[in-house]
Symmetry: C2
Subunit: 234 residues, 2 copies
Amino acid sequence: MLRSCAKRLRALGSLRGPLPCERRPALRSFSSKKVVYKDFSIPNPSWSKDIRLLFDEFMKKCEDGSWKCFPSCKYGSIQRTQDFKMFHLDRELTKEDLRTQTRLFTSSFEEGLGFEYVIFCNDVEKRTVCLFQGGPYLEGMPGFLHGGAIATMIDTTLGVSAVIAGGTVMTANLNINFKRPIPLCSVVVINTQLDKVEGRKFFVSGNVQSADEKTLYSEATSLFIKLDPDKSLT
Amino acid sequence: MLRSCAKRLRALGSLRGPLPCERRPALRSFSSKKVVYKDFSIPNPSWSKDIRLLFDEFMKKCEDGSWKCFPSCKYGSIQRTQDFKMFHLDRELTKEDLRTQTRLFTSSFEEGLGFEYVIFCNDVEKRTVCLFQGGPYLEGMPGFLHGGAIATMIDTTLGVSAVIAGGTVMTANLNINFKRPIPLCSVVVINTQLDKVEGRKFFVSGNVQSADEKTLYSEATSLFIKLDPDKSLT
């Protein structure tokens, strides 16, 4: 199964060019030594049966090439670190140990404690699906996920839909209706759909459901803007 | 300064009754032993000059009682843990080490790496202000904060406005316009304002600006619903 996932990742890379986290060598924390990339969107011991079953189901859908598994990486790249240095103006924060410690937010917790997820995409249907298990460090109301943690994974999944369609994009609007709180450590499925493209604008909508699809937790709409490479971000 | 903050925290408690994180004894990770609460919304060595200057400015505003400092706590309470057990249905995830490890999302990173913030509120003006420094573990695009991390702090600050006005509330809608990306480790100010109350509905809006107020990063509107204590959340 994991070999199959790796194969699909390579296939995705060869079809679309290297994905953002594959382009550059990763850094270990506290070191500039190049290391082999590790994809964090593959099962680990913290994954519950619910997410494993769904993962297997989607990996089967990947076999005919209609769906693809989208990889996730943990540590900042060399470019991340260089960009980070530019904005690290405070003396206390430019210490070497902090400069090399940038992490993608959704992969910044240790295994099982934060965002455990995997994203699959279907180019033809312009759909993206995220299987997400929110760990005990993502608590908001006692026993439930923080709204910001849900917003983070919704933004990430909607963003993948926009990235696949438009390349480098930035969230311009995110509008979420939270209908029910999500129990901590339960597994949810985030479904997103590219609705419309108008020039550099990508409109994507989605929802968050329980693993058995019986409970609708949230609904969201979003607008992403394709970045102009000739313009500075700040 | 810290003594003054502690004094204000006590004053806030005596005025409004204990705050959510003061009601119950905290747990150390991996232990059920009661420990003294630690407030994480006070300066630590990772705080830059920008956030320290703003903190001092708001602490001065607290001296006449018009503004109050809102405390933040890190570890889950006993109640959090009991609620957590209810939803921990998967055998692998019910291990003692995970059950006692719940953390409030916004306080779940080690010092300096994630959400460094402090919230001040003004009851008369129905305003809440969050001073926020996003650390290197909150990265989205290289060198910038993840949209989900910004959404998390916006939701938290808007939520404090609603909590002060209505008690226990839940986010029903969160609508954010992201205008510019926020450089990682920079300091931003989140301003929120309670706009309207309709029965159990609390409408709160806000924005995110740079510390010097020259850059508008985001704008947001939200709806919070006061929870009905007789109804189950799920």
